[in-house]
Each structure stands twice: as structure tokens, then as C-alpha cells.
């Protein structure tokens, strides 16, 4: 009698297990059917690729673009599963070194001393570009900042919004005496690397923290994970200021500052001002380029490139074909997708070079 009660539990536990298994099989089989139907006409001509999985991780700067492109790519190529986990440019580079992913998103180039850690030669594929905004939370103020003042704010030397240096650049604005809360990234970030690289180039001696994916921020600042995490802090904290990619900042409804560029004019971040900065940049042999602190009356000074990194040797033919197909898609339909999620498409010169580089994969 007593024992039989105890045994009743066993089928109960088993039932839960079976339910779990049932959930699993149903959810894994449904989605592909859904998406096969919605293939867009422009890509229907492309040959269907064999089944493969492309795992990726890295830059959250390009994440919104990648996610949008992957959604479209999967509709065109249902057999190829593309995954992007974000996590920051640092994570993407580390995962690629460890062979955990087939592709990495990164806004910064690999440090020379780290090149030896990779499992072979890798290629940079510039995909899109976008401004890094300086977003802030102060109601009713349209902020203008010079690189020097920006540097002092992020170094913690300017701690109040009504500081003389901020006032001088914003004549006529009513600045409150609120304390400034600086928001930055807690994870290793290409956005941080490019933002600080800009400050090194533009602010001169006012910026002392150097440049890298992680820098030693002053105490009393706030850190969030990913561009979304910084946007979250700026959005919820009065008196805060942080650097966020244009796409996320715009979608989150943040307000951004106009920055004084190398030609001396104050420019607001936008796709046009980013494109203006891209056109001034020169492309290196490995397809990296530096549009930061660009000259030109309309160029936004913190325009960041972003890359996809893949190994040039690919052992698995299905994966090789899938990577090539994915990159080709990015350079065709993907460039049109870019503007819908607030990224700037590549200028023609860079686009042509990048397309040509696809043939180097798997040779």
C-alpha cells in the first residue's frame, strides 16, 4: 500500500519528461515550414545552399543589422542556420580563436600580438558603418560638445552639467546643476575601442585613459552590458551620458549630442553624416579602414566601421558555401536592409573590394 504510493511518483516524473520531449520535437520542426513561404522575390534566383550552421558572436554594435539580415537570409536559404549571439567584439574575437564560432562580428581590428592565437589566416569583411552617438538624458537641452569637453566628462573631470566648459559650448541652453552620470560598457567592446580611439585622436592631452576594448574608467561611473545595456542606463537615469550605436540609440528614443568635427563644425549623427565620413576614409590592403575623426564639413567624427571576421580556410564544404552565400547576401540585399535599421551602407569603392574578397575564402 505504502510502496505503491511511492511508485506512483515515478510515472508522474516520466510524464513530465515525455511532455518535455514532445515540446522539444514540435518546436524544432515547425519554424522552417513557416519561413519557407515568405521568400522574397529578389533572392529566389540564388541557388539553394546545402544544410549548414553558421554560429557567430561578437559586436553588439552591428547586432541589429546582423539580426535583420539573418532574418531575411534564412527566408531565402532555409537550410542554412545562422546564429548571432552578440556579447561584444572581444567575445567574438575570443570565440573565433577558440573555434567556437564560424564567424565573428568586430568593430575593432585584431591586435598584432593576438594574430598568432588564431587557428589560421582570417579575413576582414566590412559590412556596414554607423555613427556612435553620444546620448544623454537631460530634458529640453540640445547639447553641443567639443572633443575636449567630451573627454573631460568621460574622465570624470567635469562632474556637473552646468560646468563652465559645457556652458561655453552651449550658449543659451539652460543647463541644470545635476550631477553627470557617465555610462559605459561593462564588457569588452569595439564601440568602446572606437569611441576612445576617437578621443585619443581628437581630444589630445585632455584624454588620458588610452584606447582599447576595455579601459580603466574612473570610479563613480555606471556600466551596462552591450550597447543595449548602456542605452538602458541613459534612458532610465536623469543626468546621464553614454556612447551608444546610432541604430540602438534611435530605436530607444535617446537624444544625441552634436559633436565638433576635425573641420570645426558641429555635426549631428545621422546616416548622411556617417556616409560623408566614410567617403573620406582610405581602405587598407586587408580591407580595414578608419573613418574616425574624419575631415569635411558634414562628416560625423565618431563614425565606426564594423567587420565580419572569418577564417580563409574552411574544411567543411557546406560551411564554406554557406559563409560565401551569407556574405554575398550581405553585399547585395543586405546593403538595402542596412538603412531600414539605421546603418549606413558601404560606399561603392569599399563594397567592390569586399565582394572581390569573398573569392579568397577556401582557397
Amino acid at each position: 500500500m505504502k510502496r505503491s504510493r511511492a511508485r506512483m511518483l515515478v510515472p508522474l516524473v516520466l510524464t513530465i519528461g515525455l511532455l518535455a520531449a514532445a515540446c522539444g520535437s514540435s518546436s524544432s520542426s515547425t519554424p522552417k515550414g513557416d519561413k519557407g513561404g515568405s521568400t522574397s522575390p529578389t533572392t529566389a534566383a540564388a541557388p539553394k545552399l546545402a544544410a549548414a550552421t553558421l554560429n557567430g558572436s561578437g559586436s553588439t554594435f552591428q547586432q541589429a543589422f546582423d539580426e535583420a539580415v539573418i532574418t531575411e537570409f534564412q527566408a531565402a536559404q532555409p537550410a542554412v542556420k545562422v546564429v548571432y549571439g552578440g556579447g561584444g567584439s572581444g567575445k567574438g574575437q575570443t570565440d573565433l580563436q577558440g573555434g567556437l564560432v564560424q564567424w565573428a562580428g568586430s568593430d575593432s581590428t585584431v591586435k598584432p600580438e593576438d594574430v598568432a592565437k588564431y587557428k589560421g589566416r582570417f579575413l576582414y569583411f566590412p559590412t556596414v558603418a554607423a555613427p556612435i552617438t553620444v546620448s544623454y538624458n537631460l530634458s529640453g537641452v540640445k547639447l553641443k560638445l567639443s572633443p575636449q569637453t567630451l573627454a573631460k566628462i568621460f574622465e570624470g573631470q567635469i562632474t556637473k552639467w552646468d560646468d563652465a566648459a559645457v556652458k561655453a559650448e552651449n550658449a543659451g541652453a539652460t543647463l541644470p546643476s545635476t550631477a553627470i552620470t557617465v555610462a559605459h560598457r561593462s564588457d569588452g567592446s569595439g564601440t568602446t575601442a572606437n569611441f576612445t580611439k576617437y578621443l585619443v585622436a581628437a581630444a589630445g592631452p585632455a584624454w588620458t585613459l588610452g584606447t582599447d576594448k576595455v579601459v580603466a574608467w574612473p570610479s563613480g561611473t555606471q556600466a551596462g552590458e552591450g550597447n543595449g545595456g548602456v542605452a538602458q542606463i541613459v534612458k532610465s537615469t536623469t543626468g546621464s551620458i553614454g556612447y551608444v550605436d546610432y541604430s540602438d540609440a534611435k530605436a530607444a528614443g535617446l537624444v544625441f549630442a552634436s559633436l565638433k568635427n576635425a573641420s570645426g563644425s558641429f555635426v549631428e549623427p545621422s546616416l548622411e553624416s556617417a556616409t560623408a565620413a566614410l567617403e573620406a576614409a582610405t581602405l587598407a590592403a586587408d580591407l580595414t579602414y578608419n573613418p574616425l575623426n574624419a575631415t569635411g564639413a558634414k562628416a560625423y567624427p565618431i563614425t565606426s566601421p564594423t567587420y565580419i571576421l572569418v577564417y580563409s580556410t574552411q574544411a567543411d564544404p557546406a560551411v564554406k558555401a554557406a559563409i560565401k552565400g551569407f556574405l554575398e547576401f550581405i553585399y547585395a540585399d543586405g546593403q538595402k536592409t542596412a538603412t531600414t535599421v539605421d546603418f549606413a551602407p558601404l560606399p561603392k569603392a569599399i563594397l567592390t573590394a569586399a565582394k572581390a574578397q569573398i573569392t579568397k575564402i577556401g582557397v
Binding site: 505504502k2 510502496r3 504510493r5 511511492a6 511508485r7 511518483l9 508522474l12 516524473v13 513530465i16 519528461g17 518535455a20 515540446c23 522539444g24 520535437s25 514540435s26 518546436s27 524544432s28 515547425t30 519554424p31 550552421t53 554560429n55 558572436s57 547586432q63 541589429a64 539580426e67 535583420a68 539573418i70 532574418t71 534564412q74 542556420k81 546564429v83 548571432y84 549571439g85 552578440g86 556579447g87 577558440g98 573555434g99 567556437l100 551596462g224 552590458e225 552591450g226 543595449g228 545595456g229 542605452a231 538602458q232 534612458k235 540602438d248 530605436a251 530607444a252
Partner: protein, 297 residues
């Protein structure tokens, strides 16, 4: 457990008003403590329910993929639910049999031996090892060689569950009356046979209860999974290969966002996870009430 007997009636009349007031004040502060802690805790759960209810009720929440475009609004936590059940299930399949065997060793074969005490001591110590340390450990010994997978997550969760299962199994086996064993021996049973046929069935409800509690704790763990399972949007039914996802890591990822779609998915995932954990906790309660009824009869 002891229950208080009816109190002698002299207490009220003999104490001075000051002492009575003091006692009443302190008693009131105990009630206040309950209110201070339990009310917010209950509010958290109600908050999760109210915020997550809409997400969970949207059609496809339990089966659809997680939207690839993370700013998208709408459901899909199917892959994370599958992942959590798979990872926790695999961890249970590894840790519970091993833990019960370990418990049998401690109680039946080494009750007071030095070696038994050493294992018991370290099992206790292992219960306190932070879950993030288990995650780092599995990353170093498994992920670096074999890559991210649900199985790697299961290894980390299994390491967390093992000592809990060992110690609760031992405690439950301890409760089995000596007479039961002795009568089995008297009927000619050997030790192993007696354990399998007599002792284990008697302790089963307690052991199941302990195991379910361990499962509940493991299902809610996040930190060890951050290093071991990776991230996907579509369900991956392969236990051993390729990244996977889980409810807890989805909550963490979606919590850090300004976009309403992600935030509401985070609340929905939190409600789903709480639901799963509570089911195991309540099952554990039911199992242990079988045990206490047994002891009363």
C-alpha cells in the same frame, strides 16, 4: 519537530506591565519581520506574473522560435524551454543515480568510517561552491576541447546537483528503521539485495523529494550556463553538439535592453522558469509528505 504545548496560564498575570509591553512589542516586531520579508517576496512573484502573463499567453510562446531580430515584439521561447528541460534533464540523469549511489555508500557502507566522513565533509563543502566556479571549471575541462553544447551546461549543473543529492539521499536512508534491514537479513537477504529491495523502496519518497529540490535549483541556474551553452534562436535537439539556449540565460540577455519586445520576453521567460521550478518544488513537497505519512503509520 516539536510542537508547543498549551502554555501555563500564570504568565499573563504575574509579569509586570513593563515586561508585558516589552514582550508584546517584540512579538509585534517578529510579525513585522514576516511582513517585511514575505510581502516583498510575494510581490515579486505577483509582479512577474502580471508582467509575464501577456507574453506567456501569446500564441506560440511555448513552441515558436525566439525572434532573430531582437527588437521584434512578440513571442517565442520554445527553444529556451526545450533547452532548459534538456540541460536539466541530462544533469539529472547524471547526478541523481550517482548521488543516490554515493548516499548509499555513506549510509550503508561507511556510516562511521574515516573515509566516509571525508566524503561527507567534502560533499557538504561542495554544496557551497559558487555556481559560477562550476561554470568556469566545465569551460576549462570540457568547452575548450569539445565546444559549447547543452551537455556542457548539464555537466556544470550536474556538479551542482551531485552533493545535494548525495547528502539528502544519505539523510533519507538514515531514516529507514534498522529493524527493516534486520528482518530482511533474517529472511536470508544479502546486503546488496536488501538495499535494493527493502531499504531503497522505503526511502524512495524522501530521495525523490531531495532529487526534485536539486532539479529545481539547477533549472534556475544562470551563471554556469553563460560559459557553457552559448546562444541560439532555434531549438537544437542535439544534446552533445552545437550551442543551445535556456530560459535563465534568455532572461539575463533580454533583461539588459531598452526595447519593449525584449523586456516583455524577459518577464515571460521569468514566469515560465518560475512555473517550472515551482512544479518541481511542489512535487518534492508531495513526495516528502508521502514519507512523513509513512513514518506516522
Amino acid at each position: 519537530m516539536t510542537y508547543t504545548m498549551p502554555r501555563p496560564s500564570i504568565t499573563r498575570s504575574s509579569a509586570s506591565p513593563w515586561r508585558q509591553t516589552k514582550s508584546a512589542v517584540m512579538t509585534a516586531s517578529l510579525v513585522l519581520a514576516l511582513v517585511v520579508a514575505v510581502v516583498p517576496l510575494v510581490l515579486i512573484i505577483l509582479y512577474v506574473i502580471s508582467k509575464g502573463w501577456a507574453s506567456v499567453n501569446a500564441p506560440g510562446w511555448f513552441t515558436a522560435d525566439i525572434p532573430i531580430f531582437s527588437r521584434a515584439v512578440g513571442p517565442g521561447m520554445g527553444p529556451a524551454i526545450t533547452g532548459t528541460l534538456m540541460i536539466t534533464g541530462a544533469a539529472t540523469a547524471m547526478a541523481v543515480p550517482l548521488g543516490v549511489l554515493g548516499g548509499i555508500y555513506l549510509n550503508e557502507y561507511s556510516a562511521a568510517s574515516r573515509y566516509g566522513n571525508v566524503i561527507r565533509f567534502f560533499a557538504d563543502v561542495m554544496t557551497g561552491v559558487p555556481s559560477i566556479v562550476m561554470g568556469l571549471f566545465v569551460y576549462v575541462i570540457w568547452v575548450l576541447s569539445f565546444g559549447l553544447s547543452a551537455f556542457a551546461g548539464a555537466l556544470a549543473l550536474g556538479c551542482l546537483m551531485l552533493p545535494i543529492v548525495i547528502r539528502t539521499s544519505e539523510e533519507m536512508l538514515k531514516l529507514v528503521p534498522r529493524e527493516l534491514r534486520e528482518s530482511a537479513y533474517a529472511l536470508g537477504g544479502r546486503k546488496a539485495g536488501t538495499i535494493v529491495r527493502v531499504v531503497l523502496p522505503a526511502a524512495a519518497p524522501g530521495i525523490i523529494s531531495g532529487a526534485l529540490l536539486a532539479v529545481a535549483r539547477a533549472a534556475g541556474e544562470t551563471a554556469p550556463l553563460l560559459f557553457t551553452i552559448g546562444f541560439v534562436n532555434q531549438a537544437n535537439s542535439d544534446l552533445l553538439h552545437d550551442p543551445n539556449t535556456a530560459l535563465s540565460t534568455q532572461i539575463f540577455k533580454n533583461a539588459i535592453s531598452v526595447f519593449p519586445g525584449q523586456v516583455s520576453r524577459a518577464w515571460g521567460a521569468a514566469l515560465t522558469l518560475i512555473g517550472i521550478v515551482f512544479v518541481f518544488t511542489i512535487l518534492s513537497r508531495i513526495a516528502s509528505s508521502f514519507l512523513s505519512r509513512k513514518h506516522q503509520s
